[in-house]
Symmetry: C2
Subunit: 215 residues, 2 copies
């Protein structure tokens, strides 16, 4: 049974982006710190059209996610940093240029209707205006027997978690205290959600914690 997995980098103090997110600084102040571990990897860099990098225990975790994921759901802000009508959005086709690293269908939650966009390498962007349930349904259908990744941001992750639609969390726990920014778990209600830790992979750069949501 394919899994719906939230796969995201988080600081030890719970942030997935720094403070003061802007179009020029989409990860917020200091937020790129959370992704240094991935930027250092050869496989990640290749996917983003960059040379260099190394192969470490972290590489296996990234490669596994790329291999197992058949579709991704994400929020509008994570996709482009923008809001409002698409024609006013300077990054309306996303951050990633003509050959985005996904190489599978991506479903973007938005209130603004738009035709799908096809990029190189197997990435398609489909814009979903009728809610998280619909986006997940479309992503499941597109993923076939592969997993669906919920990519973020925090607001979208929380909506899926609260709706009971997440099966697994893969948290890449980065050894830093950001001190401020966007919390992954900032606005959950006050009921407990039990988790079962199903895997743990460590490297000097990051701790990969995998949990199953107990339902």
């Amino acid at each position: 049974m394919p899994s719906v997995t939230l796969d995201i980098s988080m600081s030890l103090d719970g942030f997935i982006a720094g403070p003061d997110q802007t179009l020029a600084q989409p990860l917020g102040e200091g937020g790129e710190r959370l992704h240094e571990w991935a930027f250092a990897l050869k496989g990640f860099r290749e996917r983003h059209g960059l040379s260099g990098g190394e192969t470490t225990a972290d590489s296996d975790v990234v490669e596994e996610s790329l291999r197992n994921t058949g579709a991704t759901v994400m929020g509008r802000r994570m996709f482009s940093g923008g809001q409002g009508p698409w024609e006013d959005d300077p990054s309306a086709d996303g951050w990633w240029g003509e050959d985005p690293p996904f190489r599978h269908p991506v479903f973007i939650l938005t209130r603004h209707r738009r035709e799908p966009v096809t990029k190189q390498g197997g990435t398609t962007f489909t814009f979903v205006t009728d809610g998280i349930g619909s986006a997940l349904e479309q992503a499941r259908a597109a993923a076939g027997d592969k997993d669906v990744a919920v990519g973020g941001g925090a607001n979208v992750a929380q909506q899926y978690l609260e709706a009971g639609l997440l099966d697994d969390l893969q948290i890449h726990l980065v050894p830093v205290l950001l001190g401020g920014g966007v919390r992954l778990f900032g606005h959950l209600g006050t009921w407990q959600i039990e988790l079962e830790r199903t895997r743990l992979i460590e490297s000097p750069a990051v701790t990969h914690l995998r949990y199953r949501v107990v339902k």
Copy 2:
């Protein structure tokens, strides 16, 4: 060189107590979930005058802390749940009865002066009214060549962290999302604090993450 270590249980979403802390419910609603892993241990139970329990990988972590810690610093609320003058505090001698589990000197941060209290088994309670620096100095002197533990709560932990006085963090990461309560890292400033993960011990119940604060 003895270490000053914050040693504390935290949910994956960053809480060290649940919401609605009261005298009758000092850990807040659902907060005891964060300590189930410890309550299950034979060694922990013995220290608290309880029978039963088991010995697991978690036992070693607890035993090590008990063995290496020569003094503890904690906040007034963690000590008694109270505030204001001591004569009005129903738990003025702490939560732990006549034979508290510490068995070493404990320094309590408070604005209300009070003579020290000596309990059974080597535990003394000393009340410090002149700030976190003084409390740490007294705790260091009492601990000798052993470590000083900063026990919490969150406010006290944050003060020591911001003042650059913490050497190590030992976070017992509990696989649950509490959804609300007291955040361990709720009110840090917006500068980054780099950490180096120095140890990781896992059990089904909890992940023990040890970090060194990079100074």
